[in-house]
Subunit: 104 residues, 2 copies
């Protein structure tokens, strides 16, 4: 059992998103991304089985899909096959929790 206080993570980085792997096992990978305003993950996909859950913890931005950008606010949660193009862009500083199962 592992408890992570994401609020206490080291915060944001100027050049690139702050990525912290908080758990990795045979079942899942859990990552905290902290994006400064303007940062994000460009539209991408991996040609493998599995799904990801992306939950906005704080801040606002957009979920990116192939032909769309959808507003993302705290509590908004995206569930997506890993093989489907997805991305995220922060409008304000934005903290996100991503769970990938099975792990990449």
């Amino acid at each position: 059992m592992k408890l992570v206080h994401l609020n206490e993570q080291a915060g944001f980085q100027d050049k690139n998103p702050k990525m912290t792997v908080i758990h990795e096992s045979e079942f899942m990978k859990v990552i905290n991304f902290n994006f400064k305003a303007g940062q994000g993950l460009p539209l991408h996909s991996h040609d493998i089985e599995g799904e990801l859950v992306l939950c906005v913890l704080s801040g606002t931005g957009e979920f990116l899909a192939k032909d769309s950008a959808t507003p993302a606010a705290p509590g908004d949660t995206l569930v997506c096959p890993i093989a489907t193009p997805h991305g995220v862009r922060a409008i304000t500083d934005m903290r996100v929790l991503v769970t990938i199962a099975p792990p990449i």
Copy 2:
């Protein structure tokens, strides 16, 4: 690809926690629990393989383990084998996102 605005879920229930399954697949099960102050999930476990991620979206409470109760605030995230006794108790109204992989 599925986008859920957890803020727009139907809220809380007086008698029991409001449980909304927002996704279920061969890879994972994703559930939103909304607990009114005083509600929770008592300490329990399932004798199966797999893990769960429990992330506090809003409100405060406690994560329960066999011999302890640990404060839980927004962003606090518990990663736990499903077979390890775990629970949660809301002190204020509390919204939680739970991801279970593989799904129960």
